[in-house]
Symmetry: D2
Subunit: 464 residues, 4 copies
Amino acid sequence: MKKCLSCAGAVSHACGVFGIFGADNAAEACYLALYALQHRGQQGAGIAVSHDQGINLVKDVGLLNDVFSNPSVFEALSDSSSGIGHVRCSVEDTPVRCEMQPFVVNHRTGQIAVSHNGRLSNLTELQNELEDAGAIFQTNIDAEAIAYIIARNMGLSGDISKAVEDTTKRLKGAFALTILTHTSVIGVRDPYGISPLCIGEMNNGAYCIASESCAFEAIGAKFLRDVEPGEIVVIDELGMHSRKVHGPGNGLCSFEYVYFARADSVIDGVNVHHARKNMGRALSKVMPVEADMVIGVPDSANPAALGYAAESGIEYGIGLCKNRYIGRAMTDSNKTIRSRNVGIKLNAMRASVAGKRIVLVDDSIVHGDTSAHIVGMLKRMGATQVHVRISSPPVVQSCPYGVDTHDRKHLISAKYDTESIKNYIHADSLAFLSVDELIESIDDSKTKSYCTGCFNGCYPERLG
Amino acid sequence: MKKCLSCAGAVSHACGVFGIFGADNAAEACYLALYALQHRGQQGAGIAVSHDQGINLVKDVGLLNDVFSNPSVFEALSDSSSGIGHVRCSVEDTPVRCEMQPFVVNHRTGQIAVSHNGRLSNLTELQNELEDAGAIFQTNIDAEAIAYIIARNMGLSGDISKAVEDTTKRLKGAFALTILTHTSVIGVRDPYGISPLCIGEMNNGAYCIASESCAFEAIGAKFLRDVEPGEIVVIDELGMHSRKVHGPGNGLCSFEYVYFARADSVIDGVNVHHARKNMGRALSKVMPVEADMVIGVPDSANPAALGYAAESGIEYGIGLCKNRYIGRAMTDSNKTIRSRNVGIKLNAMRASVAGKRIVLVDDSIVHGDTSAHIVGMLKRMGATQVHVRISSPPVVQSCPYGVDTHDRKHLISAKYDTESIKNYIHADSLAFLSVDELIESIDDSKTKSYCTGCFNGCYPERLG
Amino acid sequence: MKKCLSCAGAVSHACGVFGIFGADNAAEACYLALYALQHRGQQGAGIAVSHDQGINLVKDVGLLNDVFSNPSVFEALSDSSSGIGHVRCSVEDTPVRCEMQPFVVNHRTGQIAVSHNGRLSNLTELQNELEDAGAIFQTNIDAEAIAYIIARNMGLSGDISKAVEDTTKRLKGAFALTILTHTSVIGVRDPYGISPLCIGEMNNGAYCIASESCAFEAIGAKFLRDVEPGEIVVIDELGMHSRKVHGPGNGLCSFEYVYFARADSVIDGVNVHHARKNMGRALSKVMPVEADMVIGVPDSANPAALGYAAESGIEYGIGLCKNRYIGRAMTDSNKTIRSRNVGIKLNAMRASVAGKRIVLVDDSIVHGDTSAHIVGMLKRMGATQVHVRISSPPVVQSCPYGVDTHDRKHLISAKYDTESIKNYIHADSLAFLSVDELIESIDDSKTKSYCTGCFNGCYPERLG
Amino acid sequence: MKKCLSCAGAVSHACGVFGIFGADNAAEACYLALYALQHRGQQGAGIAVSHDQGINLVKDVGLLNDVFSNPSVFEALSDSSSGIGHVRCSVEDTPVRCEMQPFVVNHRTGQIAVSHNGRLSNLTELQNELEDAGAIFQTNIDAEAIAYIIARNMGLSGDISKAVEDTTKRLKGAFALTILTHTSVIGVRDPYGISPLCIGEMNNGAYCIASESCAFEAIGAKFLRDVEPGEIVVIDELGMHSRKVHGPGNGLCSFEYVYFARADSVIDGVNVHHARKNMGRALSKVMPVEADMVIGVPDSANPAALGYAAESGIEYGIGLCKNRYIGRAMTDSNKTIRSRNVGIKLNAMRASVAGKRIVLVDDSIVHGDTSAHIVGMLKRMGATQVHVRISSPPVVQSCPYGVDTHDRKHLISAKYDTESIKNYIHADSLAFLSVDELIESIDDSKTKSYCTGCFNGCYPERLG
């Protein structure tokens, strides 16, 4: 996935969504939960809560802590028991506040707020249709189109759960939604379950919905279950109700396990950390190599490196040191500082690697530049050999569901074979997992299927 | 060490200092170097550069990125080839801007800026003496007293290197200084070398001085050597000169290896990562235990956990997940959010630890509350046993050199024996390293001594 | 008019709009022009400029200077020759960023930005109709509905000037618009010309449109003429074209002359300062009184006071001192400070008024509290008598066009006769202008009519 | 006086000081009082209050409202009954936070905060002497030197009022001080009373001290009396005590009446508005001219214009319109906007002046450029003649007491005669008041003398 300046890690539209109904303080719960989901998006954040007078919204560009650093901003959201939140990840250069989420519409049937993770594959079609039908857009984001369709359907049926159900029938692609109305919080997952979504329960009986289960730990909630593909979960004064609308099959994005999700989350019954360790184990068999130490690119590839080490018997080590202090975005105006950005985020540890043959485990290669940079650092620090092992298959297709892999022309694996890439990054050897090996690492029960489109073009919806 | 809200890690006065002379852009170099030293202090940051008209200074409360987030602030420091910087760590509740560093004085002999890491054990005595001699203080920080003495000596001798030399003779305790004048940058390390300091060289011949060698990687400089205990290093138009004033012996703070320093730094010839791994190895022999997995408290205890695993043969695992998104300080006004702060910074991973006997390696226990919290989390997540191993001896003395261990009455090891602490934190067993084991882990050559005062009261200066 | 905390003056929806096509730097011109129009709205400000890639927008809550205080924000708008701007005045307690203007829609026919001054009397009707036709609203402001109708009509005709013309046929009430598309800037004034709008020309041939002529001085433009009621002025590469759509008559808000406009503006051929002076002259004949000094409530009532003095022969004086330093809004959290707000904005000058019989000229009385406060101050400072003279008739009706007079129940003149009000404010005598006297003061040619609805219920559109 | 960008008015070091002891909330009182004194300085502001633990200080660059816009900043100062404040005016391009006031020193005898208005004529001498005696300076401002001397004297005598008395004996030049210690607030005025200072009393018995009496109105205090030249006023638990140390005579800066002070203040028994009106009256006799209208440059010259009109019988009018919305400082990065700054701050009103012979009254001419700009505007707006009348004598000397008139070489009157200046500013005639006429306008009792150094070189201390 594209490595971005601000996190030196893969970037995608893997936003995080959350919703809660019945909380003592909905804004606090949203804040804590979004904090646990911050790894899914660092570009912007927002919280919307429901009041007697309607929906109050605070959203802005920046890390969650920055957006809510002013206590008075926080107070504007107090005294509410239901709310939804969003953290946004995007590769756009200049994020604009109005494109942050939750997205609120003021319909005569009431206000509706929407948080969305994923990407609609039929967005343009829906926008055109809505414009034909009289809608006027103010942004180009999925959430606006989704909110518009919900509001229109609400106008037709007057029943929010039916309105949402009718809406989901129109949406194609990946979507995990949390929706806030005056009387309910609703969670929706796309029919193939491409985007993850799960349900938690507080001690006081409040229910909550989140992109990943790690959000529940943060607020003291208990993980109940995943939202099923195609399921609509409505939480209101009467409790939690489920509408299973349609779900033709499973198709969770396999990249969630490879990179997006936090290691301590459990998604669709699979622990992310466990899956990553399995990927490493599998990787050790793909192209065995004699080496002195296995290291991972922190933090996401560490579990795979651990698995590789365990399986291969080669010692696991810490060879790269990551700078944790991100704070606000780097000062844009200073070119020198920006150009050294990767260098100051990650440093090779001479004492660990000098004189050693290193197996370097990473989760993916997109453009190849970051890998080349890391291999170079390790060699400058004295590594005698660097064998790169990638815990996923080569990325050869761009993603229609929001994983930001740009055009195929920027994907190094779409243009070059493994040998050429190995040379480009100056590795001594290079190996990837196959798609089958990846899927088996995630789930060897073979009862579910996963979206592996970016590796082999097989999308749940059979998109080109 | 005191665990603080903002980093869920140990807190101390382990500030970071840096200085450079001959840079293409001194402010940029300071920024990048301080970024690499940010782990030594997150409370405040500052950069002072030298201009024809004098010294320009920007400093403020906050992370480096926050202090310099406004490009115009950065521009105020442009066009200079020499400068010094500082990142500050403090446990004070309400940091005040004027106590941030570098600290600048306007003396008739010229402006002088000072950055200080450490703590003077004779500060009050010096302050009284200076007040008796006519000085008026505006803060209570060491750097102000140091700057005053330098300025006074400068007035007497007119020679900055002599002025600094005369100054160091008056200072007791721990100090690593970078000093900026109109014509030079000077590095000073206390006679026992309690605080670390080292020298780097840029490709263009510029010299730089930093608390840790990891700062050099960040700016593309090469590590030359450590500043020796008692040494004064002057960098000016003529190059780098050294004055070895007096250095009765070695006494580097052993806690630098245990916790403060970044794993990829090399201090006094010892790689920090390597030392920590050795501590883990040693620890595995102290009180062997049958277990299924060794985990470290991220990030500082991971190398020790790795060493423990390697030596014991017990599998190394990742059992705790750390939230990386610190951003600005949590919104103070919200009590609920503050109270959940530890919980959202660190999460136990059920899939890793459930059903397992865990060896939990941490670097230190100060109050015991954080350890109790972590042990509790692990057990809630299904760990059947949690054996706590600490890669340092019990902390029984407060530190006169700035490591913030508060009064002895807050140190759990000063009040209770290991068995009682084990019960307090609900561990199944608990063991520490002895002082000898710690020192051997750092350096088995036995040619140097280290300050181990907080463990056994043996301070280099033999302070009570 | 309601006296608000932030300006101690009357508050209304008398926003300011501006637009320019062909400027060297459109954002700069908008900034300078809006600065001159800041008296029309201090709650928020925004500028939208047209680029090759579309429309760039910066808007926020706050004074113009605050919104654009960060240079980088300004740079986001550079390199454009056409743009529109807006300053917003509102009495709402908690302004929200998304309700600031210009308001931008992303239609498939292109982006359109709209700035609006006035208020639609058929807004709810239009909103319902648009919702019926498929539109979804995100705010409750007029500009959103207007932009939606323009975009829809644009979709139908593909011709922006026709789209705007068709739009204006649907709008009732008061509106002065500036509209920005990729290829043009358009100015529109409602059929009765309730809201003011005029045209200027730059030396380089660029045309501009503004709420008041004072904006032209600020950018070095020359006043050309007023936009006529019902006129649409299109400025594009071909120059300036006018479409006179329909204009059944004149109905400029008479309160523009009484209070809203800046004294140096000329609106519909009438100089505001001159009109105010005439009001004062007329006022001196309504209820003559023996007095020692005439003073005005600064700044808006000073010209009327001057006219009163000239006509009556009573000396004109300065008896009230206004604090000019508004800066950002007062710190909300401090009740004491807020409660003293009026007192610190305006101070009576003892040396001027002590021992004197004072004629106090003000522009209007809405609730009566501010008048009571000022009369009280003058008496405490030694004025022996205070005769209050109001340069407009009693306000007895709320305004459907956006002048914020709240409910009739808050209008003191709607509930009480002049004698009762005199007693309430502790004045020694009190007199208002009649509607006829007001209109004659503005324009004795009797060729035009004006909206005097708030004084006598006679609205141009004959609304209730 | 130098006309500055930010206020289009004269700029000087006419800072404002305030202090209160026994208030219900000292910070609130300081805020309100400083707000009323904001005209004396817009560059920075600060408040220091006394607590059990010492002195809390908040100060920064910017308008008072900006410095205290964050409620949490304000809260840091709560719960105190005594405090002092400062608003700072300076012409320096880049104000630095640490040069803002109050200035606090941490002496072993306790903390001391100092606010200073004026300028010491022996600052360098004092600084040298203090440096010789061991002091080290951190800034170059008078308040630091003053605070140092007080602290030193405090160390000697242990009695704050004696320490202040001893201090004032060392100071030459202009100084009005408010001083805060843990147990008292002290006001000090220089021996000639060059800087103004006065005493007020609250209803609750609290005493306060301010640069101008207008501050008392703002907090509901009653003006008691001026502090006498050379007087030290100590307010503590025992009430208010006065030490009249030495006061060789009167020498209040006559420019306070001409420009600095707010019109509603009373200084040394003279009402400022009254004095200005007298200046106008006197001016009308200096060089009578036939004209149609007298106008003042708002706001400071309006009273003089009024006096001129009353005496001459020529009609008083409003011919210049001032933009009131200053907000924060103009965005520095934009040259076009800065260059048009004067134009957008002040606008000539065509309807008032067209076809008329205008008498333009202003308070002073320093460089001549602003006058030339205003005369030009008036003529472009149709004024047939513009006769400039200045309500003070030509400024021919720079000021040693802090009035910022720069070098003599920048003073147009120091280089050219009245005829040449008249031509430079394109006026039809030009006249100044003589020094005698100015003094008589202020006070015809002839019992007091005033500093008129900038007009004739006669300084109270007979400085060169």
